[in-house]
């Protein structure tokens, strides 16, 4: 099976978000970057499917030149090659992102399965996978916690508040997944070494005008509470229980 996984490079924000002076980005000078969590599981799932039944895993990202790091990370756990749709570092809106991915998919002659995260950790637009499926005329199922790829079909499950909804789709199909689908492996040292020499194609399409145009980022009000210190160490236990009783939970 030929599988495409679309991933996004996002900063690891840690405990506090700080904005750049122009309020266009998060200040990332001292931050590391990672693949958005849902997509980490998408890469792992694709690698498992190909390990079990053969085929190829291609990983794609729309992002700055530095996003090669996330493609190499994916190759380190088993993706075969990468496609970097290189931007100037500014964020593309969901329609522009989807259009660039659609062009890349067509140039590849299509895939049996195209995997996305259900939504990116940063922008959270909830739509790129669905737009790609619509443009390619493919079925799409979103928010998945379980995928069983069979002969020409895929069976999948999605959480529905204490229950699971079961869907089936014929292949080729687009699926968007959630963290918890699997437990992604850590890359091995040989895996990391092999990743360095795997093929990477770079595309540079022109950026279309934004229709969902980011004007500025704003930190929400009400951050930075002053916690009441109930005490230190085990000696604080009576005070904790008192508070729990006041809250009506103990």
């Amino acid at each position: 099976m030929k599988i495409l996984v679309c991933v996004k490079r996002v900063p690891i924000t840690g405990g506090k978000i700080v904005l750049t002076d122009d309020e266009q980005e998060i200040r990332t000078l001292h931050l590391g970057f990672a693949i958005s969590p849902h997509e980490e599981c998408a890469v792992e799932e694709a690698v498992r499917i190909v390990e079990a039944g053969g085929g190829e895993v291609v990983v794609l990202t729309v992002g700055p030149a530095e996003a090669e790091e996330q493609l190499r990370d994916s190759m380190a756990i088993g993706a075969d090659r990468g496609i970097l749709i290189r931007t100037d570092g500014t964020e593309w809106d969901p329609q522009a992102t989807a259009a660039a991915i659609v062009d890349a998919v067509r140039a590849e002659g299509g895939f049996d399965l195209i995997l996305f995260g259900n939504e990116s950790a940063d922008a959270g637009n909830y739509q790129v996978g669905i737009r790609v499926a619509a443009a390619l005329g493919l079925p799409v199922v979103t928010g998945l916690k379980k995928i069983e790829a069979g002969e020409g079909r895929v069976r999948c499950e999605r959480d529905a508040g204490g229950a699971r909804d079961v869907y089936e789709a014929p292949l080729p199909a687009v699926l968007t997944v959630l963290e918890g689908l699997n437990l992604p492996r850590y890359p091995s040292v040989p895996g990391r070494l092999r990743a360095k020499s795997k093929p990477l194609a770079v595309l540079e399409p022109a950026r279309p005008a934004s229709k969902l145009e980011k004007l500025r980022l704003v930190l929400p009000a009400g951050q930075g509470k002053q916690a009441e210190i109930l005490g230190e160490g085990a000696a604080a236990a009576p005070r904790v229980v008192e508070v729990m009783q006041q809250l009506g939970v103990a």
Binding site: E168, R216, L219, A227
Partner: protein, 277 residues
């Protein structure tokens, strides 16, 4: 301005979306019946929206999914999880609520979902039920009920949660003990599920479960933004941490500073003492 609002039956989030929709103009509320079939339902919504100036739904799993389908069909932009609308400028949620974005929505009709718990719920209004034609696209074939042992994380009144500071899967015994005494659900941070100490179903966070407890007890959790995104729905947060500078303290109402391996069993012992057991 005419607004088409997609609502789900008996759904608090839909009534919150109605509040924002009313602020935009005259609302026509529609629901769909039959087995859930996202692409087909979106086609029915797009048909019903002819002539509408805006299409709105709750920023729920289905609301966001359906509007993404509608937007793709109409080739229009879609702003997910909006908190306010001012002309063609929307404020929307990023990073699970840790950050907001002001954006210009260039589309017509304006397609937007309403971020959960950012509006008061409106009184229910008359809802028109539409039927979608089966277009052969994926739909729900069956619903499998899950037998969940214990308290559900999402609805628990109290959640006792452990992070990196717990140190190991076995370390969760003291977390489970305290949770048991409080009738609480056990939660954890993303570090813990990534390490395989707990299943992902226990994860509180942006990519895990968003809780709504009366009390959240965060033990050995530093308080990364992605964790807070799942915890901030709790009315009160108690942080137990050995680092008085940990970011979690900026989100907590109460804190105990010190080693959770001593503090958590001491709280359990104190609870037993208070109950005379």
């Amino acid at each position: 301005m005419s607004v088409l609002l997609y609502v789900e039956p008996n759904d608090e989030l839909s009534l919150q979306a109605l509040t924002l929709a009313r602020g935009l103009g005259d609302v026509r509320a529609v629901a769909l019946e039959g087995a859930y079939q996202p692409a087909a339902w979106a086609a029915a919504l797009a048909d019903a929206a002819q002539g509408a100036d805006a299409i709105v739904a709750a920023g729920s799993d289905r609301g966001n999914e359906l509007l993404a389908h509608v937007a793709a069909r109409l080739d229009q932009p879609f702003a997910a999880n909006v908190t306010t609308v001012d002309g063609d400028v929307v404020t929307r949620v990023r990073w699970g609520g840790s950050l907001l974005e002001e954006a210009r929505l260039h589309g017509s009709p304006r397609i937007l979902s309403v971020a959960p718990h950012t509006q008061p719920a409106a009184e229910p209004i008359q809802v028109e039920t539409l039927t979608a034609a089966d277009d052969g696209s994926p739909r729900v074939l069956e619903r499998v009920e899950e037998s969940t042992g214990g308290v559900s994380l999402r609805d628990a009144k109290v959640v006792v949660s452990g992070g990196r500071g717990v140190g190991s899967a076995e370390g969760f015994a003291i977390i489970e003990e305290l949770a048991g005494l409080l009738g609480a659900a056990v939660g954890c941070s993303r570090v813990v599920t990534s390490a395989g100490w707990r299943p992902h179903t226990d994860q509180v966070g942006q990519t895990g479960t968003k809780i709504s407890a009366d009390l959240y007890v965060a033990c050995g959790i530093s308080g990364a933004t992605q964790h807070i995104a799942g915890a901030k729905g709790a009315k009160k947060i108690l942080a137990i941490n050995n680092d008085p500078e940990a970011p979690i303290l900026a989100s907590a109402d109460y804190a105990v500073i010190g080693d959770l391996h001593e503090i958590v069993p001491a709280i359990s012992a104190e609870l037993r003492k208070a109950r005379g057991t």
